[in-house]
């Protein structure tokens, strides 16, 4: 059963209080972010749970979860490399970076490594055009990417994963 931690339940209450009475549906995007933080992705069970929390129909959650690109509708790796491929990043060499990550991790775009550590995804403009090429990794951006930097990031993730196990 999907169930938020006490801390997250308190956060949901706090978010709902930001809107007028009866407009708790406005909390849907932030609450889906909270759900994804806790569960890693949004299963239909999780979405139904969120619908219950906000007292809205499950379909209202599904239609939102499928619209926005940041919600994962299937499990993803522990570390998701979201590499920008739009014009300004392309001009500064994002294609080479994507190619390099593919080789290095032995996966195609959209795939996850067998150990479940890494997922590679291409994304459209993330607003870091002046610091291209770039990727999003979790909450933060990694910018001015080079092959050496990609190596270091992969190492860093492996180290963190090992430390957390």
């Amino acid at each position: 059963m999907a169930q938020f931690t006490e801390e997250r339940l308190a956060k949901v209450k706090e978010i709902i209080a930001r809107y007028p009475d009866g407009k708790q549906k406005s909390a849907l995007l932030p609450v889906l972010h909270l759900a994804q933080e806790q569960f890693g992705w949004l299963s239909s069970e999780t979405m139904d749970y969120v619908a219950g929390l906000l007292q809205i129909e499950p379909i209202e959650v599904y239609e939102v979860a499928t619209f926005y690109s940041m919600y994962n509708l299937k499990p993803v790796g522990k570390y998701m490399f979201e590499v920008c491929q739009t014009g300004p990043c392309m001009v500064r060499g994002s294609e080479d970076i994507i190619e390099y990550i593919k080789q290095k991790l032995g996966i195609k775009v959209g795939e996850t490594t067998a150990d479940g550590l890494f997922t590679l995804k291409t994304v459209e403009c993330l607003g870091a055009c002046g610091y291209a090429p770039m990727m999003q990794l979790g909450k933060h951006y990694r910018e001015h990417l080079t092959k050496e930097k990609v190596d270091a990031i992969i190492e860093e993730c492996r180290r963190n994963a090992a430390a957390n196990n």
Partner: protein, 449 residues
């Protein structure tokens, strides 16, 4: 050095924090505004000539004056921080490094509009910035600039930060409102305009981050004085985020009296093109505005020097001009392929179309497919005309401006670089390994000289 009104304190150490920001003169505009009437504040913003900095350039004071004031219905200010137009990263800079400047502008604007609950809608990918903004909000609140009875004025205001979840379309104000209500970002049919029926059907003003930050200098110096900076209807200063093939990518504040040539080559700004390459083309105002070849970038078709302001950048209309847009300045050097660059933009708009209107939903997909064919040597000569035909049928035929935004880059690329498209069709093998290059596009500096 041009006038700086927004970034003048950006490099003061600790300016992100309240104490330093206040010591440097922060929140003076709130002190001043709370002694004025809301109507007088709107009047000052009107006088300043401040235009919306998100892309459309609509006069901000005018927009504020449209807000409906039905008895007993709360009104809301919403800050559009859904910065997503490729080439644009100026709002991110403001929020990361000068969060209090935005909060200060939001308080003034909230007071002028009568918004007791104001929302900052920020793109979901800027996931670390809400923490910075919330810290600034908490500091402001602890010092009596937010909350109940601000500075004894009787005015109450709370500011909340809401993250989107990855959708360019939510930068369109009615889609943003839908998203804030917890729905898909499908733009609404206007009218009714948000000023009458916005979030939760209440009168709402949606303004861009930079516009709201600019309210601070407008109030501090007065609308009249602000309007004297710049030229004509391009008043005040504008943030330009520069990227692509330049030596110094980054965010620059300009006072709209400098030339495009100076902006590209001066060490104070872009610092020229790396590796001694020559300039081929530039998209001066974010991905949706028309691309200009070098020879039209520095000089207008009339032969006048092109300046970095709203009027001059659009001089010549779409035939020979472009737009200021969001200030996302993308520079392409002689090694770049216009067909390929346009393909990435077409893919972007296909990905970001909300799917409501068929011309946009279907058209963006077709444009991407055809451009992909041309780019990979599988195109036919008739494809170029077909592309032209599709973009023409999208433009103006959709609920929101995303359709236009998707059509314009394709149209401009064909308009100015048709021979490069034809070269791809005529050289299906060669185009896989080589670029068309600069060809007959004169070096911009030679043209200027």
């Amino acid at each position: 050095m041009g006038v700086k009104l927004l970034l003048d304190k950006a490099h003061v150490e600790g300016i992100r924090y309240y104490d330093v920001y206040r010591r440097e003169g922060g929140y003076r505009s709130v002190e001043k505004a709370l002694k004025m009437s809301p109507a007088d504040i709107v009047e000052e913003v009107k006088k300043s000539g401040l235009r919306g900095r998100g892309g459309a350039g609509f006069p901000a004071g005018m927009k504020w004056s449209f807000i409906a004031k039905p008895e007993g219905v709360p009104r809301h200010l919403v800050c559009n921080a859904d910065e997503s137009e490729p080439g644009t990263f100026k709002d991110r800079y403001l929020m990361e490094f000068l969060p209090h400047l935005l909060i200060e502008g939001l308080i003034v604007a909230s007071f002028a509009l009568g918004s007791n609950a104001t929302y900052i809608y920020i793109r979901g990918e800027y996931a670390w910035i809400p923490d910075i903004l919330e810290q600034a909000i908490n500091e402001a609140k602890a010092n009596g600039w937010l909350g109940k009875n601000i500075q004894g004025s009787g005015f109450d205001c709370e500011i909340y930060v809401q993250r989107g979840a990855g959708a360019y379309i939510c930068g369109e104000e009615t889609a943003l409102i839908e998203s804030l209500e917890g729905k898909r970002g499908n733009p609404r049919i206007k009218p009714p305009f948000p000023a009458v029926k916005g979030v939760w059907d209440r009168p709402t003003v949606v303004n861009n981050v930079e516009t709201l930050a600019a309210v601070v200098p407008v109030i501090n110096m007065g609308g009249e004085a602000y309007s004297k900076i710049g030229v004509g209807k391009s008043t005040g200063t504008k943030l330009i985020s520069a990227c692509g093939n330049i030596n110094k990518p980054g965010v620059y504040e300009i006072d709209m009296t400098i030339s495009v040539e100076e902006f590209v080559y001066s060490d104070e700004y872009c610092g020229g093109i790396p590796n001694g390459k020559r300039l081929k083309a530039c998209i001066p105002g974010g991905s949706s505005v028309p691309i200009l070849p070098a020879n039209l970038l520095f000089k207008t078709a009339k032969g006048e020097q092109r300046m970095m302001n709203y009027e001059s950048l659009s001089d010549g209309g779409f035939a020979t001009g472009s737009m200021m847009g969001s200030g996302g300045f993308i520079v392409l050097d002689e090694d770049q392929c216009v067909v390929k660059h346009t393909l990435t933009l077409a893919r972007f708009y296909r990905h970001e179309s909300c799917g409501q209107c068929s011309p946009c939903r279907e058209g963006t997909g077709w444009m991407e497919k055809i451009l992909k064919n041309i780019e990979t040597g599988k195109g036919k000569m008739t494809d170029i005309d077909l592309l032209w035909d599709i973009q023409r049928k999208i433009e103006g035929n959709t609920i929101c401006p995303l359709g236009d935004a998707a059509a314009w880059p394709v149209a401009a690329a064909i308009r100015h670089f048709r021979d490069e498209f034809e070269w791809h069709v005529n050289n299906p093998e060669l185009c896989l390994t080589q670029n068309f290059g600069l060809a007959h596009y004169a070096d911009a500096r030679e043209v200027v000289a």
